[in-house]
Amino acid sequence: MNGKSKMSWLLVAPLLILVCVGFIIPIGYTLIKAIKNPEITAALPRTTSALENWEWDGKSPPPEAVYEALIADIEQGDRGRNYGSMTRRLNFEQSGSRSIMMKARRIADKIEAPYAVSLPEAVPEFGDGDIWQLIKQNSNPYTARYLLRAMDLTVTLDGSIERVASDQAIFVDLFKRTFVISIWVTVLCVFLGYPTAFWMSTLSDRAAGYVMLLVLIPFWTSILVRTTAWFILLQREGPINAALLGTGLVDEPLRMIFTRFAVYIAMVHVLLPFFILPIYSVMKRLGMEYVKAAASLGAPPWRQFVTVYLPLSMPGVAAGAVIVFMLSVGFYITPALVGGLQDQMVSYYIAFYANQTINLGMASSLAVLLLLFTAATIAIAKKLLPETGSGIRA
């Protein structure tokens, strides 16, 4: 290593280390959480090892040794946290399992051996093999079940993969909805931003400078403040409804807040500057020379636009559209504030599982899929437009 590159490394090192320790390692840790599965073995070490040699045949329960192991796990394990997270983990796989396991804990010190008889007498669900098979299936330290569930799939007791019951199948719809909302927001930004940027590019430098302020002001205003503005504007008693009622256009206030309409309007408002700014700089460089050339050769205006200007400005459109699409896929604050429950995107559910139900496996699995989604967008964008990357270029 020569002196110069040594100096480069020394200068780069502090930020690089900070990014690695504070960002890359945490992200990796989160991604691993999506496949980690420690709960069952932590709470029921004896039971899971006793179950190793037992095969589920659809009806018969395991031998007495397994029952003894469960009672020993209940009596000798810590009765609080581990057991609780184990029951929640089982309940996530099969609803109802939580109360079965809770009943077992409650009566464990009131029943006598042989437990293979006395436990099913108290809690009938222990009489066949199903609950045991569920425990056995989930006693690996790693699992694909969270990731499967994030795609609305589940593993049945015989080990085959199938779709979850329709009342629990929310995630495929969630990803579809996130995709549809993002596509529409992108289309609307292109539709509104392209003509506006074009008009701005035809202005004199002085006039363009002032008009540019109208784009830069929202660009610099915080996303939360802009969402708050729409939150206020779209209220039932808000200014828009007041104006509509005042002019007699409607008889009663429109319901706008907490609807998909509110999500679209606020997201387009937030993201439009991200489209206008890059496409404007492309159009500014492009100028009107080629269009004038086409006109002088006799092309009608629509043809000047379609065959000359549009293809030339396309790289800018694509770059801006990719930025808008990528940002909108990860949106959280705006839909959370102005949308209803049916308008929430993937981010909302990541926050929901991380902060409210504390199901980190589910939160991480959704995060993995969201990351893959974003990475795929970047990869496609790189393929379509090789010269525009989203990273830093030195």
Binding site: L16, F23, P26, W199, W220, G330
Partner: protein, 265 residues
């Protein structure tokens, strides 16, 4: 049609972009607790609420502490890194660039969840330090970008000349390089401050009520009790954004003037 249609369409789009921001100004001055237009009368009560409420003042203080700390740390580390990246072609440079730009492309919610999990383990969740570290990481790439851009126009021979005349490296950097790339450093630092000042998603995950920043306090207000004080807070944040915008535009124009003047070389 082109003649009038396009300006009218563009005018409507620009109106759509700015009007919601300006609508909150009169609303924040309303004497009514129902936020609607036209306002029945004007009063400063919501600003009074803001400036006499411990919660809002604490949030404002936290926002400035975290914002300035982020600005200085991200500004320093980002400038160093940009200079290191510019100074030589070293092995692994592409990888370093990739790693540093990751925080810009990873969805914020994923970053926030990950930092929340990791910071809880090391015990800096629910502290201003945790938030400063998080904001520094997401803001530093912007500093790297702006400083790299201004380094493109810097002639490395000037630095070599200073070094060959016996200037210690740090002095040479401070006296020769820094003044030339200052517009980029300032623009990056302001962007870092603004990024931190606006950031909400990470704040939701890793702050408790004692570390609430302005956006976090606004978010809590919007979800729990819709008080018009929020409109006053929003106006205060908008005015601050105008200040950031004004400074960056001034720095940018000055930078362009310097570039176009043929004084050097």
């Amino acid at each position: 049609m082109m003649r009038f249609g396009l300006p009218i369409f563009s005018g409507l789009v620009l109106f759509f972009l700015v009007s919601p921001i300006f609508v909150i100004f009169p609303l924040s001055l309303s004497s009514s607790s129902v936020l609607t237009l036209p306002v029945p009368g004007y009063s400063l009560q919501w600003y009074e609420d803001f400036f006499f409420s411990e919660r809002w003042l604490l949030a404002t203080r936290n926002s400035f502490i975290v914002g300035f700390a982020t600005m200085f740390i991200a500004g320093l580390l980002g400038t160093m890194a940009a200079f290191g990246l510019h100074a030589s072609e070293f092995r692994g440079k592409k990888l370093v660039l990739g790693a540093m730009s990751l925080p810009m492309v990873v969805p914020l919610i994923v970053t926030a969840t990950s930092m929340f999990l990791a910071f809880s383990i090391v015990g800096i969740a629910n502290s201003l330090w945790g938030l400063i570290v998080a904001h520094t990481i997401i803001a530093a790439p912007y500093v790297v970008i702006t400083v790299l851009a201004s380094l493109q126009t810097f002639d490395m021979n000037l630095l070599r000349a200073a070094l060959s005349l016996g200037a210690p490296p740090v002095t040479a950097f401070r006296e020769i390089v820094l003044p030339m790339i200052m517009p980029g450093v300032i623009a990056g630092a302001i962007f870092a401050f603004a990024t931190s000042f606006d950031e909400l998603v990470i704040a939701i995950f890793i702050t408790g009520p004692g570390q609430f920043t302005l956006p976090r306090q606004m978010f809590a207000g919007l979800r729990e009790f819709m008080s018009p004080t929020i409109s006053a807070a929003a106006v205060i944040m908008v005015v601050l954004s105008f200040v950031f915008l004004f400074i960056t535009e001034a720095v940018r124009r000055r930078g362009e003037r310097l570039k176009s003047s043929p004084a050097e070389h």
